[in-house]
């Protein structure tokens, strides 16, 4: 009730002046959004992403699956795009590291993960690429090979590789490393890493707080 000195009709307490009420509502809105995103505070951005890379990546996003989920299994659907940090690379192999540290928030269940990378190939050439999935060993020691995929690439442009359960498990642990190894001799790796518009990235569909969701009493 905007009238000063009035009584709040809901809780009977003293009515707030408009400015204090606005502050209270803004604070409530912040807390409500952070709670639903399983965040304790707003993120501080470590490495801002360029508008170009953002626009390129968003073209590969699609809405979460629309089929209705049984009520007891409904969790919050999320789609995540992680841009690669390029690790040790040379003409024989390209290493891509992906980090996702909010994995513990609300119990995350990876449903699907795929790698997107840009290739510049000479005309009429085909190129066989091995993609190795490396995971951290016990006690976060060195990286071990979990599985690998073989890919035939015969045109320049964006290519997508659906990653299997090993990569999904690694991602839900918060750290995924991929190695792109060209088969046969190449003068230089056709995978384009540099430039904001061609940064490799992984798109992941997750369900947060699914089957293990605390039942509402």
């Amino acid at each position: 009730t905007p009238r000063a000195g009035g009584q709040c009709p809901a809780c009977g307490g003293p009515a707030l002046d408009l400015e204090s009420r606005r502050e209270l509502l803004l604070d409530l809105a912040k807390r409500s959004i952070l709670d639903k995103l399983h965040l304790s505070q707003r993120p501080t951005l470590s490495r801002p992403v360029s508008r170009t890379a953002l626009r390129t990546a968003l073209q590969h996003l699609h809405g979460p699956p629309q089929e209705a989920l049984p009520e007891d299994n409904r969790g919050q659907e999320c789609e995540i795009i992680s841009f690669a940090k390029t690790g040790l690379s040379n003409i024989n192999q390209t290493r891509l590291d992906f980090h996702f540290s909010d994995t513990t928030a609300g119990g995350m269940e990876v449903q699907q993960a795929s790698l997107m990378f840009f290739v510049q190939l000479p005309l009429n050439t085909t190129w066989t690429l091995k993609v190795r999935v490396l995971v951290l060993g016990p006690h976060d020691s060195n990286l071990t090979l979990a599985t690998q995929h073989l890919l035939e690439v015969d045109a320049s442009g964006w290519h997508q590789l659906l990653l299997g359960p090993e990569a999904q498990a690694a991602y839900s642990q918060g750290h995924l490393t991929l190695e792109l190894v060209p088969e046969g001799q190449v003068a230089q790796s056709p995978v384009i890493l540099a430039g904001a518009a061609h940064r490799p990235f992984v798109t992941v569909q997750v369900r947060v707080g699914g089957k293990h969701r605390v039942r509402r009493r």
Binding site: P2, P9, A10, L25, L26, L28, A29, K30, S32, I33, K36, L37, R42, P43, T44, L45, S46, R47, P48, V49, L54, A57, L58, L61, P64, Q76, E77, C78, E79, I80, I81, S82, F83, H99, F100, S101, D102, V208
Partner: protein, 116 residues
């Protein structure tokens, strides 16, 4: 449901838009520009049981109120002004590793209010 206007004291929906730029969140929330944190406010006296936008069927509302008031022995009790229609809030934001996250938070925006 009814939107609050002027000094209305009856149960209605109060619109309240939170502009992410105003609260300094526009750097990490890519889309949308803000959040309609509408809320329900106002009173639900006995005689409005069953009015349009009610949170239950007419029969149920009146019956519940009568039962509650007979049981409590009080006259003129009321019910609560609650959301009767809500929709999700779709967010596109950066997490602390600069990953881009797209998610739909269910039941975040109140579209209508009514007396329970």
């Amino acid at each position: 449901g009814i939107d609050c206007q002027g000094g209305s004291r009856m149960c209605c929906r109060q619109e309240f838009f939170v502009d992410f730029r105003e609260i300094g969140w526009h750097d990490w929330i890519i889309q949308p520009e803000g959040y309609a944190m509408n809320f329900c406010t106002g009173q639900c006296p006995l005689h409005v049981a069953g009015m349009p936008g009610i949170a239950a069927s007419f029969h149920t509302s009146v019956l519940n109120l009568l039962k509650a008031n007979i049981a409590a022995g009080t006259a003129g009790g009321g019910s609560c002004c609650v959301p009767t229609a809500r929709r999700p809030l779709s967010l596109l934001y950066y997490d602390r590793d600069s990953n881009i996250v797209k998610t739909d938070i269910p039941d975040m925006v109140v579209d209508a209010c009514g007396c329970s």
